[in-house]
């Protein structure tokens, strides 16, 4: 029995605005519980929400980055439900007039995963279970979120993972969120159902709050298996909310959702309707940086860089900026890339390091070094050593390269070295005269060593062959 998968993903992303969506509290992660709070975000009687306009701008930017159409007119709605982490017993969200609609994320295969809508809303607080008690921390309450709802276009766990990863990359690059799944600034709820080919779609279940890209795949595989077992046994799948537990590697039912929740949505009376002008939308669009996939394409197709190397840098906004800036100064792209992935990355080992890109030298300093490689004034290996020391000290390349190193090799000196090569390798000379041409490599080795890598190999070859005749 080969079942087909239908999958849609709802992604919640915390926006990296300085303050919360409805009050001036900080959005900074962590902090002692209940210290990043105020009357508004703890739902005190009499407090009122005030919409932070930066949230609208970030959300529009996010929508434009995934090809959405922006609704110029929009408003907030109340979503009413009871849960201890929701202080007002309603979440201020958007129901029937989301800010962004009709976008897509394109996978490497070319397939487009359509995005139905993106809306803005506030995050709830956090429940912490400890010693038989449950504690509530409202620091996270009121942090601005965008909820990105995809259409059910995803057909495999791998596609799901790729979709989530691309969203993460895009949002990070655009600068609206750090999208750290392990910190909760990006959360995926995966909806899946299975059906036989040419049959109607099955009943779907929702796996909530998956906290890593690989867990998306694992959770989906397990749930697909579970649903398949149910259907094979002749039973029906019950619409439920599930959770994936990484420790036990199991997917289990949290609660069944036979009847859809009635949130009694109505327009939020405390927040007026808002308007984003077409001019403002274009202004925001103009601030969109080149997105990762476009960047990769440019590196590989326009610059001719090897794809696997380009892939090592294309994800990281700061790394690619460093790269592009150095190249724009005239340094050779291939050499800049190699220096980054070999030496700079030795200092920036983790994903986080690469995101933060905390290094002591500027792209200009790297460009200066690479230009020396380009003009063959120093060898790549030497350059790597120098670069390592520059990264440690932050000093310019001139501190580490002596003047004489930079000087070129005169023809006279080259000839003398070539003569030396011939004199030192009589056997090789004989081999060459006898037709074993490969023996010339020994000569080259000598020449390179004695010229400290400065010799032009073609010139040296000419001279040596002349001398041997």
């Amino acid at each position: 029995m080969s079942y087909q998968l239908v999958c849609g993903i709802e992604t919640h992303i915390e926006l990296a605005t300085k303050t919360k969506i409805f009050c001036g509290c900080t959005t900074q992660f962590g902090g002692e519980p209940n210290t990043h709070c105020c009357p508004v975000c703890t739902g005190q009687p009499g407090a009122l929400p005030v919409l932070n306009r930066q949230v609208i701008e970030f959300a529009v930017k996010a929508g434009l980055a995934v090809n959405c159409k922006i609704n110029n007119n929009s408003h907030m709605d109340r979503k009413n439900y009871v849960y201890p982490d929701l202080p007002k017993a309603y979440q201020i969200s958007q129901f029937d007039e989301p800010l962004c609609v009709d976008g897509y994320v394109q996978l490497d295969s070319g397939k487009k995963i359509r995005i139905e809508r993106i809306h803005i809303e506030e995050d709830a607080g956090k429940l912490v279970h400890d010693g038989g008690y449950t504690y509530v921390d409202y620091n996270r309450g009121g942090v601005p979120l965008i909820e990105i709802v995809s259409m059910a276009d995803i057909s495999s766990p791998e596609e799901a993972r790729e979709y989530a990863e691309k969203l993460q990359l895009i949002m990070r690059n655009v600068g609206v969120s750090d999208c750290k799944m392990q910190e909760g600034s990006m959360r995926c709820d995966v909806n899946i159902s299975i059906h036989q080919p040419n049959e109607p779609w099955g009943t779907r279940t929702e796996i909530k709050n998956i906290n890593s890209l690989s867990n998306i795949v694992r959770a989906m595989e397990l749930e697909m298996e579970r649903q398949e077992d149910i259907l094979e046994a002749g039973d029906r799948v019950i619409q439920s909310t599930m959770r994936y537990d990484a420790n036990s590697d199991t997917v289990y039912v949290l609660r069944s959702k036979e009847n859809a929740d009635d949130y009694r949505y109505f327009p939020e009376p405390d927040i007026l309707r808002f308007y984003v002008s077409p001019e403002k939308v274009e202004e925001i669009r103009a601030t969109l940086p080149e997105l990762p996939d476009a960047k990769l394409k440019r590196y590989v197709e326009d610059m001719g860089l090897p794809e696997n190397n380009a892939r090592l840098i294309y994800k990281y906004r700061n790394v690619t900026k460093f790269f592009d800036d150095a190249v724009n100064e005239g340094a050779g792209a291939g050499n800049v890339l190699n220096m980054i992935i070999s030496t700079v990355y030795a200092v920036l080992q983790t994903e986080e390091d690469k995101e933060n890109f905390d290094i002591k030298i500027s792209s200009h300093q790297l460009a200066e070094l690479v230009k020396l490689i380009d003009s063959k004034k120093i060898r790549a290996n030497k350059a790597k050593e120098v670069l390592a020391r520059m990264l440690e000290s932050g000093k310019d390349v001139i501190e580490y390269i002596k003047a004489e190193d930079l000087a070129g090799l005169s023809d006279e000196d080259l000839k003398a070295i070539c003569q030396g090569a011939v004199d030192a390798n009589p056997k090789a000379v004989e081999d060459i005269r006898n037709g074993k041409d490969k023996a010339i490599n020994v000569m080259f080795g000598y020449v390179m060593k004695n010229s400290r890598g400065k010799a032009d190999v073609k010139k040296a070859e000419e001279i040596i062959r002349e001398l041997i005749k």
Binding site: P39, T42, G43, Q44, P45, G46, A47, L48, P49, V50, L51, R78, N80, V82, P84, P87, K88, A89, Y90, T134, V136, D262, R264, F266, P269, D270, I271, L272
Partner: protein, 486 residues
């Protein structure tokens, strides 16, 4: 009607009395009279003396305003840092907010003195203040009768001279109707004129903080101080009213067009009708022009109001769950039970009734038929009023179809009670300002109030007309003898 604020301010400035002395007089009066009227549900006398000392300093430095050093009362749903604020509900028993409402911040910065919090219908839901968990406040004009509601405590305190003025809240008439029942002045400002930050919400699109006072000039003075756009309330509006209190001395109604709608007088008893028509005649005799207007939508106003108010209230009151503040039951097995018990034990019957109504009209399957329809009708009513204000400057109507009921009036079902709001709710639905001023007493000696209604942001026009009437008309509601008399 007597002006209290300006004369007191003059005495304070002249050094005839200090704010501390004045405050102590009010404190004694409260200690003596509050058991008669149950106007205050909590007092903050220590804090009041502290405020008074600070006020005296301001006066000594010549930095005082009209309101400096004058003792007043806040309705029990208006937050002030550290003071009991309970909406007269068991579910907020012991609650002390840790922040100030904007109106109190403004008054305090002028050196106002807060004596305590006044009685009200629980969560402002009611028209007699009898749903208070502390028992009803009593009408100083006749203590067998109600004060009206929901700002009944403030009305009672102001009438009995145990507060120089009071703040209340008006969602469907809760400042105007008690003012009418107690024979004092009650002002409901334009929606958005006064910040709602710190007003514990009932119907968010309807609520406004209003003023209860013994004269129109006092109401204007307080309104001048508390109005203004507030960055903490996005529904507040930036409008320059100018200094209304100062403008009153030039009040004149010559050429003013006064709209009279028959629909407003339907079903009103003759005594009240006659009293209001007499006042209208007075305006006419002084140069105003009476314009006949039609308000057929008026009868839709009540169901529209109750649907919207209850819907918003059902959502606004969701937060009372015993977790962060207020009442929490002694025993429960889990969070769900705790929340259930908190709300079952903490809320009174009328509050529960309105929460259920509100939940129902918002629920899936009924939303379109009730809430959505009510919102569409609301737009119609707003448009009708806008149209009318093209034809006239103000509308005059009775404030209520009755005078103060006897306490525990058994004759009325909850819906009958709702019907008595007919004259006041259209004003909240449309967001326009209105003021209630006393006219005369009925044959039982209970005051009748007249409502003057204007278009949005026309508080100046409104209060000028009201002041003119108060000064020159034949107001037959006597000044109350008792409390602090200076």
């Amino acid at each position: 009607m007597k002006e209290i604020i300006a004369p007191l301010s003059k005495m304070l400035s002249a050094g005839e009395i200090s704010s501390v002395e004045l405050t102590e007089k009010y404190i004694s009066a409260i200690e003596q009279d509050n058991k008669k009227y149950n106007a205050y549900v909590s007092t903050a006398f220590d804090k009041a003396i502290e405020n008074a000392k600070a006020a005296d300093k301001m006066i000594a430095e010549g930095k005082n305003t009209l309101l400096t050093g004058i003792p007043m009362a806040l309705k029990d749903n208006i937050c002030s840092d550290g003071d009991l604020t309970t909406c007269c509900s068991k579910i907020l028993e012991g609650f002390r907010p840790y922040y100030d409402s904007t109106v109190w911040t403004k008054l305090r910065s002028q050196g106002a003195v807060m004596l305590g919090k006044t009685n009200m219908d629980e969560f402002a839901m009611g028209s007699t203040s009898e749903t208070s968990c502390y028992g009803a406040p009593l009408n100083p004009r006749n203590t067998n009768h109600v004060t009206g509601g929901s700002s009944g405590g403030s009305a009672s305190a102001v009438c009995a001279n145990i507060a120089a003025y009071g703040l209340g809240s008006d969602t469907g008439g809760s400042v105007r109707q008690p003012a009418s029942f107690c024979g004092i002045v009650g002002l409901k400002p334009t929606y958005g004129a006064v910040s709602r930050y710190g007003l514990i919400a009932y119907g968010s699109s309807l609520d406004q903080i209003g003023v209860l006072s013994n004269s129109v000039k006092d109401a204007a003075t307080v309104f001048d101080a508390i109005s203004g756009v507030d960055s903490n309330d996005q529904t507040s509006v930036d409008f320059d009213f100018g200094n209304i209190a100062q403008s009153l001395d030039k009040a004149d109604v010559r050429g003013m067009k006064i709209g009279i709608a028959q629909e407003y007088f339907d079903g009103i008893n003759d005594e009240i009708k006659d009293a209001v028509f007499e006042a209208v005649k007075f305006f006419e005799d002084n140069g105003a022009e009476i314009v006949d207007i039609k308000l057929p939508v008026l009868k839709q106003a009540l169901p529209v109001y109750y649907i919207i108010a209850c819907a918003e209230a059902s959502s606004n009151l969701g937060r009372y769950d015993g977790i962060r503040y207020g009442y929490r039951p002694e025993s429960f097995n889990d969070v769900e039970e705790m929340i259930l018990k908190t709300r079952t034990q903490g809320f009174g019957d009328e509050v529960k009734r309105r929460i259920m109504l509100g939940t129902y009209v918002l629920s899936s399957g009924y939303y379109d038929a009730y809430y959505k329809k009510a919102c569409l009708l609301r737009e119609n009513i707003i448009a009708d009023f806008e149209d009318i204000f093209n034809k006239c400057d103000i509308i005059i109507a009775p404030t209520a179809p009755n005078t103060a009921f006897p306490l525990n009036f058994k004759g009325a079902s909850p819906v009958d009670m709702y019907l008595s709001d007919i004259a006041t709710v259209p004003i909240n639905i449309t967001g326009v300002p209105a003021i209630s001023v006393p006219v005369k007493n009925d044959s039982n000696g209970l005051p009748i109030g007249m409502q003057i209604i204007g278009k949005k942001f026309s508080e100046k026009t409104l209060m000028n007309a009201a002041y003119f009437y108060e000064k020159n008309g034949d107001v037959q509601v006597e000044d109350f003898e008792g409390g602090v008399m200076l």
